[in-house]
């Protein structure tokens, strides 16, 4: 599979979460993942995009960017916002940690991303924004060709 990519930008409205999931999953379909892998990828997009919307922009309007690159059977997914940023990334990554318990957040977003993807890299700067880079090898992809 030759290289391919896509870039998606949209305002931080929670109703855009569903369309972002579909876009990424439809794009990744060209690697022919199995249905479980596809569900995992959709879940990861949901978690990362929701984080950008509710934590990054805290309900204010901003732009969320999702970039998706394919090379061989490897998917790289980057979700970015120019929001408030994360002061303590290690703490944020702890299972069950949430800074917004009042919104009934589970604190499991980053844990889910880590579990469903092979690599996760979080970079953030206060009041500049957050970038979550996720990599996954699609194991079931038709090994070679087309």
């Amino acid at each position: 599979m030759a290289r391919n990519f896509m870039k998606l930008e949209f305002p931080s409205l929670s109703r855009n979460e569903s369309f972002a999931r579909v876009s990424v999953a439809a794009f990744v379909s060209q690697l022919d993942p199995d249905m479980e892998e596809l569900t995992e990828i959709k879940t990861v997009v949901s978690e990362a995009v929701t984080n950008a919307i509710i934590h990054g922009y805290e309900g204010k309007e901003g732009i969320v960017t999702v970039t998706c690159s394919l090379e061989g059977n490897r998917l790289e997914l980057i979700v970015e916002d120019q929001g408030v940023g994360i002061s303590d990334i290690d703490q944020a990554r702890q299972p069950l940690f949430t800074s917004k318990p009042e919104l009934e957040r589970s604190g499991m977003g980053f844990t889910i991303m880590e579990n469903f993807m092979d690599e996760i890299e979080i970079t953030s700067e206060l009041n500049r924004g957050t970038r979550v880079r996720l990599v996954k090898s699609i194991k079931s992809a038709h090994a070679l060709g087309h």
Binding site: R21, V22, A26, S29, D32, P33, D34, M35, E36
Partner: protein, 77 residues
């Protein structure tokens, strides 16, 4: 009763939320059947082929089952 509710809610045009839900349920059945027969998770292309749809369209239809379009749909189904 579900049929009646569906009929009552129906206006002349078919809303995608409902029409796609039917397709999405079918996709779920096909997926279950394939994984039973093959003893593994089917790939998206296998489900798409069995449905006679493009893979991207399968992804689109699947999303219809995720969020109830209205409280009615949740209550009556």
């Amino acid at each position: 009763i579900g049929e009646i509710q569906r009929f009552l809610r129906d206006d002349s045009t078919v809303k995608i939320s409902r029409s796609l839900k039917e397709t999405a349920r079918q996709i779920r059945r096909v997926r279950d059947e394939l994984s039973k027969n093959m003893g593994r998770q089917p790939h998206i292309n296998e489900v798409a082929e069995a449905m006679g749809m493009e893979p991207a369209e399968v992804v689109f239809a699947q999303e219809a089952l995720r969020q109830p379009a209205s409280i009615h749909e949740t209550v009556f189904e």
